[in-house]
């Protein structure tokens, strides 16, 4: 079975995204190592517009790889603060550094309680194992 990096400090969703609360009250969002390995070479990331107001679970973009596509879902409710515009030039950053330079967007959560419902690294690892 493949090995996946799952940093302990992040929160995870069942849709294979991670979320990292930032000091300014926003939360940075990306896709997990498992997700990028499943997708393979990422060639295009469709991003939401900054300012878009999203409900938790709402489809808000897509990650296209050579072979397949994965929709992006809002991990929590809130407003899109900014998106990683560098992905337009270097979508492969999602493969190379999914928890760093391959981040996708930052949101300002409107329902902080939703953060508590996200998975920790151990629970997400179990979620992956259940599917494999």
């Amino acid at each position: 079975m493949a090995e996946y990096q799952l940093p302990e400090t992040l929160r995870y969703t069942r849709e294979d995204e991670w979320l990292r609360p930032a000091e300014d009250g926003s939360a940075v969002v990306g896709i997990t190592d498992y997700a990028q390995q499943q997708l393979g070479d990422v060639v295009f990331v469709e991003l939401p517009e900054p300012g878009a107001v999203l409900q938790q679970g709402e489809a808000c973009g897509a990650i296209e790889s050579v072979k397949t596509v994965a929709e992006l879902f809002a991990p929590v409710s809130g407003e899109v603060a900014r998106c990683n515009q560098e992905l337009a030039q270097r979508p492969e950053a999602v493969n190379e550094d999914c928890y760093g330079g391959g981040w996708i967007l930052a949101m300002v959560p409107s329902q902080p309680a939703e953060l508590d419902g996200l998975l920790d690294a151990a629970a997400y690892a179990q979620h992956i194992a259940d599917r494999e």
Partner: protein, 379 residues
Amino acid sequence: MPTHGRSVSALLQTPLHAVHESLAARLVPFAGFSMPLHYGSILAEHRAVRERAGLFDVSHMGQIHLEGPGACEALERLLCCPVASLRPGRVRYGMLCNEAGGVVDDVTLYRLDAERFFLCVNAANIEKDWRWIARHCGARQFPQVQLQDRSAATALLALQGPAAGEIIALLLPDALRTPLRRFQCAELRWRDAPLLLSRTGYTGADGFELYCPAQGGAALWQAILEAGAAHGVSPCGLGARDTLRLEAALPLYGNELDDETSPLEAGLGRFVKLAAGDFVGAEALRAQESRGAAKRLAGFELLSPGVARSGCAIIADPAQSGGAQRQLGVVTSGAPSPSLGKSIGLGYFPPELATHGSRFAVLVRGRPLAARVAATPFL
């Protein structure tokens, strides 16, 4: 995220399965087989074939042999392409059609000598083709023709790319008096076993396909990798095979071709002996030729960022249609082209729209992406 639809362990395996596992291939179900999608990166494997060489295990494909007196006549009846004019040692692309002119399968026809032929067929269609061939070329119609399905007993490797010729020369230094030309084949021996070498492929690159007994497949794979190491040969999976064939605008059965689609609609009329020949489907195809096909396959490129995939709706250019989204056609294959750096695809269009330069849009997750009919092959 993509998930595996069914257990990989329940699938058929090629003779190279252990090799793929040792190379940490990502294995996916395809046509009932567990097949390598890639060995790390589809993009890297695609580039290897375009720049150097790539080695594919395509042992999932089937081989149906027809031998004996009448084999040529039987195939002439079965196939849309001319058969009698094919000389021994030559290979030809062709299709089996049904009575309505739909494509039962697209195949490569090998003529080994006057009365020995075989068809290399799509993995998903082996059983269907076998039944079809037995029905139309069985003992009743062609009593002296021996039919044999050697699919499970045969390993098939494809070595593709500009360095393929040099690698074959290293692998088989004394086997060929003259190099094979495109669509030629030769029956050779390698390590005391039969080896059929043909200068064919499904990538748009120069290359070879090598057929050998199943038990010798893994050794042949290893020998090609060793012979090609200095040329940078890379194992390649079905992911790169698909992007490579799409750049070459080669049809894929199940996407561009099926039982309800005719060779004329698919733009493959040049492989159909319309003027001569009494083959299965001939009447329907001649009628379609005279009244004109209702749809037409064409290649396209996206003009906006994104990827159009198989199944996406083709709609009118919103700038010209006032925003109406009536479906005009459908995308049958689509992918980002690693060689061209833009998204390309194939799809069925109304004939009047299937002309080079026509503007239209593809609906991707409900959003229209601007696109244009492009010349094929794409490169």
